[in-house]
Structures are given as structure tokens and as C-alpha cells.
Symmetry: D2
Subunit: 364 residues, 4 copies
């Protein structure tokens, strides 16, 4: 496996869903940066299961312990390691599944890749639970970025067929905070209610739904990133596809751009308050891999939770014959909901990585 | 800049559109592999400008010279360098543009990133011309992969609002070859005609159109790739966003999955000819970052060519005042067309990289 | 900082000497490999302080807890994280030192690099204590390598002016084990006694001594490694200079080769038992960055422990005036002794990394 | 193979000794930096064969052509590719050698690694000729570093048993220039004469000699580098072992430190002109992987040229029986001589890489 990413800021994620602990090492954080653990915990709570009827009922404190890299709440230059103990792990739920691979789960591919020794209890290292360490890294990155005037927010752009309003052309940190504080992170409360009902319907039918997450970053300097393989898009996509269930990533108009004429898609340059901007932002803040200075806008397609309660067709690996599978246990009917802060987090640590790489290691 | 990518197989692209030459170094090719230069040249001809009325009239031989790494047509283990001379470079066309950044081109972001010294003649290193070296690397990779029974093909899934049929669930190398041989690389000839008309219309109106490219790889073993940051999706997306004009990348159902229920999206396991397969392939051949053994399917959204003939709003950087810009010169009205083999190429060398990484360096 | 290394096998070390814990994440271990924790602990005990009068009296259990990556003693494919709690940390000893940088310690360079926030209590992340996580990674790598018939051993080739016999041309695993079991890891017991006296003399004089460690690996296949920047020597040197106090690394005859004639240095090829070997091994088992199949031999120069009891000249950073410093506390008079298993460990995980990279990820 | 190195500044070397061309791609050079091609060529001439009786008589222009990355003599931000045509390649000299591997040459290891397809004509990619591209990269890096007040010089510290004076504690750019201008790059002319005689004697006896190169860098800021695996020593050693014939690398006192007491080896801090310095520099300008601000001093052990004229014992690979080999052709009796600028070059581009990584990409 390679659960490491980053150049100037290296993230190394470890742990399995039902092992002793999960966690992350963050190597390359500038020294002298305060880390507010309460703020971090508050951020992490946004992805925590059990906070609403719309997500899994498994309850976990998920409070990370920072065991290195921090002295009196300030980064010390050395790698920061944070650990979350696994406490609520009922492996029994998964025991019967080893012979019957769950459709659209990694059960079978993990076996093909790692052989029989792979730990797939609770989906092991493939579990959505491993997004908690991503949130640690991203939550810390968000604190550092905020001090540089860079803010990142995300919301549910759609759930199944219910759509939220997109972020406005120039979203504010206040909007990001307001969205994050809602039961469902949306711009339009009406959309949130419709989404909640769609999720409820799916749950009631022992089914699940997908969704799209829109994430924006404001305050980025123009000129960040590089062409070809080291562009903002390359780096973000490489990281975002690390979030389980992401099946598509687009920037700005994205796939909609493919249906447009150039005369419609091109963003005309204008001057506003003595600065060059674009009149609109179909580029999503990136041209040629490099930031324009306009808000960075990225959208991620999240597939519906593969664990559903209704019977599914699968095969018995040992008998090589058709079988039926009914997945028990607690599962989010819509992983997109809890993934909102995860997408924010991954965007945050990737941007901080690029910033540190291009502007130097940033110690005071 | 970083125009390098790859782990076991490292690709390093160099050159500017109007410099002396462009090219690529490929480090890590197994030794003892024949490279058929005629086949390579035939592949590269698919992206060559000037072959149809639907693309730019600039004529170039674009025949690469392999100056290292090959002895008597066989790879020698040492890095392969291939160079293409730039011959037809009329920089005059671009001279007036330095003060008036072209909307949705990298003119201004490149300046923000590299300062005044950046070479943006003909879009410099950001030019679509730099996809020729990508095709060299990918064309060679395709030859090696074919010997392993792995074949890669692509087609125009849509142009503006005109849609081609998607690839069938299990596309064959023969289909890939047939599609590639057409004037427009499509599955349905009727779709190709509609697309050609859409492109013609745009050209006649001094405008451009976007499109979507679908690319598939067949013959991949199950169990290739890794979870989290080293998955097939991460690696392919990181490479594919290096192709100019790509604004979105999705796998399998992609963004459509976000609108689905789990009961619809999940791919049931079945047994066929004694092997475990999935009854359909909304996963695009990848679960948990790892290949399932089903065809890998990736789609790329290509934005419309930003260079359009009609007048556009921009600003004068020197005077900091609004300005109007009319782009002269020869430009593809639809970059998606010529990008089809490029997407194939990037997919090919990325897959070969992952194969070599996971299976060893592969010398005989 | 970057305390990460490796390509196929990635090692990420974290922790400060007087923080809560130190540890390591090992990403890329093949799945299905048993890890004998008792054997690992026995290996780690070889570097433990407090086991002899010749090293520091600080006592630590240093028993690592493996919190991920292992299920029932077998690697699960996912990253392995091991943590060692810091228990015996008397920071008071170091409190006075912040203004008076210790000569040849990283106090001042760490400050120049990271600013005031850097944690240098007990030398922080720069401490020799951070070699414990290296031993975890290397100890596990040694177990995997042994199963492939590859064995690694090391001994004190010299301490101050006292020299041990070098390893014989083809050392055996039994010799490695015998050397490791001695109070001082040496080939010749007489040499060990002379070295012990040299260390005692230095300690009695509140001084310290340097030494050279010779490390050998047997059982390596021929053809491992690559020319230029990915050779065995490049990779090993890059890792070995990560061990505190290493100031020189040489392979085979090393610096002695520089005094030789080619006719003396060249290793003639011979045939032995139907295999091509070299009559001697001044190459240290590596030519052109690639293994010959003969034992790999690397030597590391270890500087004398910079912490010495006698008064030293330094400066007061706050007053910018000359000052005298007397270092209190417990310090090894010869870091080379405890570094012997560390050099073995770093050699081991680097070789395993190269093996996995060149031969594939190695899951069953 | 991996002939690539670097993080912020990536060097990718290509070519075989008797192929069409050799060269290098340098990715990551800041934009806007003048490159003086005459100065570069003058630097490269220092390693050119045929300039003295002490090196091989093969004559080559070795003038690099820069085919990308430079516009009007100024870096453009895009990767710089430079190519040197191979013109004087008499492969006949080597034809008979394929069955009789030359002792201490890579003939046999290359075969083990790459199989029969490897191109070993003139040692192929393993040839000392491949140090010319390293000099291109290093020569350009030296020009950029000089503008930052950083200067790098090297000399022959010893040849066989003849020793030059070491560099003084604080060598100047003027000394570096004076040494480089001599027939043999030495500090003491008397030493140069003795060395020349030693080389002549070896040549007359159809033999060769090794040597040690000392390289220093002055003007480096304090605080450059990182602990553990990203230290200056790790990075330099990883690059320097890429130079053929290097068998040992040491910093400061290096292996001599292993014979010292701490009280002798430790560098006391002093104040000089309001700055903290060390009274001497046994650390070689690096403590804890990080620069002290004192001159960086690194020494490389170069083995004697393996190609010697006198008969040598080897084996016939096809017959698997002992054989005798007499190497014809033109060979340096002392590769250390021509390697002096190569060591400078590799040191230069590695330092520039670290600077760019830690201080940002450095575009104006």
C-alpha cells in the first residue's frame, strides 16, 4: 500500500478499521505554528458518525492524541503524529462476509492485491474510518492556512437528484462557517431538507444514495502551481481520489465545460479595485495548472454507499457459485454527507503542501 | 515547473512550442523490448495537426528522433530520449498578445508563476504541442503493454451536445483499432458525422467546442493498484490532468454515480467461464483503488479551445485598462479531437508505470 | 524536516526525545509476513541504553507497541505503526543549555533551521533515541530478508585507535549472530577488550571516542540496483547518513581504494562451484551501482559523542559573548557501540526497499 | 535504471557512450536566470578528455546544445534540455569484450540487471562519458549559485599516495578559480607535480591509480537542510555516489573523526565579526544534517580506473572457464583527475536543489 502523499508536507496514514488504532504522521509542518486542539476536534466532529440520524449509529469519540511534534500547543518542526484508538469495533458483523465479497466494496480487490492476510475486518485500511486521520492533517492545515488568509469550505452540491445552490462566485469564510454549522452542510436550507428526505427514503428502503461535494478555497495567491504534472489540478485530484467513494473530480465548469462553446466558457479578464480578475470563474481558479487568484472550485462525485441492507447478488469465493448477501451492521446511507469535511481536509493539506513547496518551508 | 511523472517509469517532458525542439526522456523502460518506430509514428500521426479540416492547419512532420536508449530497435535499459524539432513556428502571430492575456489561456498565470522571462510564444511549455512527447511515451508504452495482452483505446464520447455511443462493456482491441482508423475517433459513425458538423459550425462562427473522451484499458490483471493515495484512480488522474484542457476526470459511472442509489450502482458479482466478474461495470474496473479485472474506464472532460477568432474582452496589463482581443492564427476548434490519442498515451504510460512498480522492473 | 525515506517500502519516523512518544510508520510491507515481536525486541535490545557500563545509564524499556498493520502476528498489507512511549525523560538536565549551544550538537543549526519553537529537549528529534524507530523498521526487515536467505550483520571495526579484524570475505549468518551476542559486537575478542579499555579511559577522562562500523549483507542476488542515482550505494548512503553521528560512508575498499593501483584494486573474476565470483571483494559487492552477488560491505565512520563532561568553549547566544559549558547528564562515551544494530537496521530496510521495488510488491 | 535525481530541481540524464547522443533535462530552474553558455562550456572543458597527457586521448568537442528552456540566454521556466552528440565512437575497441567481463567494470552486473539487451558498448550508460551531462547541470547551477554568493570548488586531495594540502579553513572563490586553472587541480603546485609523476608511472606500467577529491562550498546560509533523511549529507551522498568510481563519501573530518576523542573533534563556538562561527570545522559545515554557515567540506574516494592495459584474469561467460583479458583502447590512468569538476557539478546542483526546496522556487 502507499498511504503516503505530499512533497514538502508529507502525510502518512496508518491503521485498520478494527485494529488497535488509526492515525497519521505529518512531516514538514513549519515550526512555531500554534495548533488549537479544540478547534481541531470541533472540525473532526463534523465527520464523526452518530451525530445525526442520517449517518451510521456507531459511536466513537475519535479524539486524536497528538503524541509528537507539538510542544505546548505549538509545532516543533519535527513530524507530528496523532493517534485515534479504536474502541467500538464489533467485528462479528463482518465475520460472515469473508467468503461473500460485498459488491462495489474492496473485499475482492484487496484479496487480489494482498492475498489472504489482508485485514478486511470493517473494511480494514479501506474503511471510511481512515478518513479521520485525513481530517487531522487537514484540520491542522486549515489552521495554518487561515493565518495566511486562505479559507476552505465545502458543501453538499447534490444528493441523489436533489441539488443545492452552488457556492456564490466569491464565497466568504463566514459562509463556509455557516454552512459547516448546519445539520447538513448546504447553502440552501430548503435543499438541505430535500436532501435529508432523500437520504431518509433510501435508508427506509435499505438502500443508499450518492452525492456531489463542492469545495472552494479563497485567498489563494495567483501563480501557485505548475504546468503539466505538478499543477493544482493534478495534485488535488491525486489526493482527492484517496477519499473512499470518490469516483470523479472536476474543476470549475468541469464536465459541463465539455458541452460549452469557447465563447461561453472563456472567462473574460476585467479590472476590479485595481486588480485583474475574471468576470466569471468557469476555470475554477486554475488555468494551465496555476492559480488565477480567483476562488479555487473543485467538485467530487461520491458514489452511493456500497453497504446496503437489501439482498444483493454475489458469489461464494470458496464454492465458486452464485450466492446472495445481506449486509448487516451500521452504515451511512449517504457517505457524501460525512465526506464533506474530508474533502475540505484533503484540499487543505494539499494546498498547504503546494504552498510550502513553492514558497519555502516557512519557519519563522 | 515539474513536467516529470512516474515512479518505476519516469517521464520527463521538455520543450516550448516555439523553441528549438520538444521531447521526452523515459527512464525505466525494461531492457530487451522492441520498439517499432513506424508503429509509433503511426500512433503519433493520430494527434498530428493538419490531417483534417477539423483541426489546425499548421503542418508538421513531428517525427520523433530517438537519440538514446534504443539499440537496433530494442530498448537497452538506459533512458530513452526522443526529440522532435520545431520547424514551423511563426511567432509573429503571437507577438501582440503579450500585453493582452488571452482569456482561459495560461498567459497570465504563467506570468504570475514565472515572471517576465517565461516563454509564452505559441503558449510555450503550456502548448498543446507538448502533448506530442506524451504520445511518444504513451505510444511506446502501448507496444509493451500489448505484448502483455493489455490494450488501450479511446474515443470521443461527446462533442458539444453530440454524443457517441459509449464503449461496449467489454471492448476489444479490434474495436479500438477500428475507432482509431476513422476520420473522427468514434464508435458510431452517425455520431461522428453529427460531431463533425458541430465542429464545423463552431469554426464557421469563429468559435470552439468542448468534448468528453472515454478511454478504456482491457486485459489488466485484477489486483493492480493500492488503496488511498496510490490507487489507479489517483495515479491516472494525476497524469491525465497534465493534458492541457482536461477539466474533469471520472471513472466508471463517475458523476452519474452521484445521482444513483446503491442498489443500482453496485456491480453484482457473477461467475463467467470459471472466473469471478461483475455483471456490469459502473466501478470502471477499479474498487478501492485496485483493479477488478474488468475493463478500466476513465472519462476526461475537455474544455473548448480557448483560442477563438471572435473578439474577446480582456485587459491591457501595462495600462491596466479594459481591452478587446482578436486572436489570429491557426487553432483547433475542438482540442478534444486531437486529444483522443493523448489520453490513450497518458493512460498507457501510467498503467505501465504501475505494472512495473508492482511486478518488478521486468527485464528478461 | 523530512524523516521519511524509501520508495516501495516507506519509513516515516516521528517523535522527540522528551516528547510523549517516538515511533515509525512502515508503509509497503508485503502482506502475509509473520513478524516475531520477541525476536524484534531482542534485536532492539542490542541498541538499548543501560545494558553495559560502556553506554549511558538512562534505563528504558523501549518496547515498541505495534498499533496497526499486524493481525495475529502477520502483516496485513496496511501500514505498520509502532510506538514507543517516552518514560524516563529528565529534561532538567538540558534546561540550561538553550542559551549555550553544545559544540558539534545540532542545538544551533536546529535553531537556524526551525526557529525558537524547535524542541531540543534531550536533542529532540535529533536525538540518538530516534534510532529506536529505525531499529523497529530494520528489525522487521531483517526477519523478512532472512526468509529470502539474505542476512545482515555488523560489528565495531574500530574504536578510537583500536581495530577489530574485518569480516572474513564471506561472512556467515552464524558469525553475525555470534558477534551480536557479545558484550561488544566484535569479531576478535581481544579487539573487544582493547576497545572496552579505550572507551573506559575516555569516560574516566570525561571524554568520548569515535569508531567505525562495518556492515555486511550476504545472500543478495546479483543484478540488484541501478546505475547512476538509483544504485545500491546511493540508496544506502542516503539512508545511513540519517543515523546521527555518521560522518562517512564507504563501500568495499572505499577510501583505501583511492591509494591503490588498478592492478591491485580490480577484483578478478573466477569460477567457483559453477558460478562466476570474484577472487576478492574490494568492490564491496557493488559495481556500477548493482550487486555482484558477493557480500555487500559498507563501513560507516561514527564521530565521537559530542556530549562530553569536560568544560567546553561555546558562546552565549543571548549575550553574544564567549562562554564555557559543562554538559551534565548521562551520555554514551562511544555512540558507535549502540549504533551497530542501527546500521544493520538501516541497511536492512534499505535493501528490502530496493528488493521490493525491483522484484515487485511481493504479496503472496 | 533511474538516472533521475532531485526534488525542486530535477535532473534526468540520458544516453549511452556509443549511442547517438547524451544529455540531460533540468526541470525546476527558476525563470529569468541568465545562463552564460561560454562560461558553461569553459567549465565543461575541465572534464573534457584529451586536454592533457594524463587523461585519455579520445578527442571530443562535447559542446552541449541547449534545445529547450532557454530564450535569449535566459531561463524561461520550462525544463532545460541539453544534448551532446556522440561523434568519436570507435566501438570496435570493445567488441571482443562481451564474453570476457572486465574486472571491476559494470559489464557483468549490467548483464545481471538488464539482460542481454543492455548496451555496454564503451560502457554504455555506465560510462564516465555520462558525467558530461552532470557537468551541464552543475555548471548551470554554479552560475545561479554564484549570484547568491555561493561558490563551489574542488581539488585533488590525493592521487595514489601523493597528497595535496587540504583547502584552507575558509577557502575563497579566487582560490577555487586558481586551482581550476592549473593543469592538475591542486592547491600545492609541488603536490601537483608529484601526482603527475605518479600518474605517469602508472600509465607507463599499463596501470592506473585512485585518488581523493575534496570539494568545498562557501557562502551557504546557516540552517539549510533537515535532520534524518533529508540532511545535506544524505542528499549529497545520494548524488555523489552517482559519479562512476566514487566508493566513499565523507564530510568534514569523516573517517578521521572515528579515531578522535570528542574533546578534539568538537568544534568550539566563537564570535567573529559579530557572528557565531566555529573555531575549526571538523563538522564540514554540517551538524544534524543542517548547515552551520561554515564551509561545507565533502571528500570523495575515487577508485583507480578499472580499465588497465596489463593482462587480467577473468572468465569466459559463454564457456564458463577462466580467461585472460587485455584491454585495448584509450583510458584515463586516473579517473579522479577528470572527476574533479564532476564532483563540483554534482555538489552544485544538489545544493541548488536544496536551496530551491527550502526557500521556494525563486522566480523573480
Amino acid at each position: 500500500m502507499s498511504s503516503e502523499i505530499g512533497k514538502a508536507l508529507k502525510i502518512s496514514v496508518f491503521g485498520q478499521s478494527h485494529g488497535r488504532a488509526i492515525g497519521v504522521v505529518i512531516d514538514g509542518l513549519p515550526a512555531g505554528e500554534p495548533v488549537d486542539e479544540e478547534e481541531l476536534y470541533a472540525f473532526m466532529s463534523r465527520r464523526r458518525p452518530g451525530t445525526s440520524r442520517l449517518s451510521t449509529q456507531r459511536s466513537e469519540a475519535d479524539r486524536p492524541e497528538i503524541i509528537s511534534g507539538l510542544v505546548n500547543g505549538v509545532t516543533a518542526g519535527s513530524p507530528l503524529c496523532a493517534v485515534i484508538e479504536n474502541t467500538d469495533t464489533r467485528s462479528g458483523d463482518y465475520a460472515a462476509l469473508t467468503d461473500l465479497p460485498r459488491p462495489s466494496h474492496a473485499d475482492l480487490t484487496a484479496r487480489a492485491r494482498y492475498g489472504k492476510a489482508v485485514d478486511m475486518r470493517g473494511s480494514g485500511h479501506f474503511s471510511g474510518r481512515l478518513t479521520a486521520p485525513l481530517c487531522i492533517a487537514g484540520g491542522i492545515a486549515k489552521q495554518l492556512l487561515a493565518r495566511k488568509g486562505i479559507f476552505i469550505g465545502a458543501h453538499l452540491l447534490s444528493v441523489e437528484k436533489e441539488a443545492d445552490d452552488p457556492f456564490p462566485p466569491e464565497p466568504t469564510p463566514e459562509l463556509f462557517a455557516a454552512v459547516a454549522a448546519k445539520p447538513l452542510p448546504v447553502v440552501s436550507d430548503g435543499a438541505g431538507e430535500r436532501m435529508a428526505r432523500a437520504v431518509e427514503r433510501a435508508r427506509a428502503e435499505a438502500d443508499s444514495v450518492g452525492g456531489v461535494i463542492e469545495c472552494a478555497a479563497v485567498g489563494l495567491p495567483a501563480g501557485l502551481g505548475s504546468p503539466m504534472f505538478d499543477g493544482i489540478e493534478n495534485r488535488l485530484a491525486a489526493a482527492l481520489f484517496g477519499v473512499p467513494a470518490v469516483k470523479g473530480v472536476e474543476f470549475g465548469a468541469g464536465f459541463a465545460a465539455a458541452k460549452m462553446r469557447g465563447s461561453v466558457h472563456n472567462d473574460p479578464y476585467i479590472i476590479e479595485n485595481g486588480e485583474i480578475k475574471t468576470a466569471k470563474n468557469d476555470a475554477g481558479g486554475i488555468i494551465g495548472g496555476i492559480t488565477t487568484g480567483m476562488p479555487l472550485v473543485v467538485k467530487c462525485a461520491m458514489k452511493p454507499t456500497p453497504s446496503i441492507g437489501r439482498p444483493q447478488k454475489t458469489v461464494s469465493v470458496s464454492k465458486m457459485e452464485p450466492a446472495e448477501l445481506e449486509i448487516k451492521g451500521r452504515h451511512d446511507p449517504c457517505v457524501a454527507i460525512r465526506a464533506v469535511p474530508v474533502i475540505e481536509a484533503v484540499t487543505a493539506f494539499t494546498i498547504l503542501d503546494i504552498l510550502l513547496e513553492e514558497q519555502g518551508h516557512g519557519n519563522d
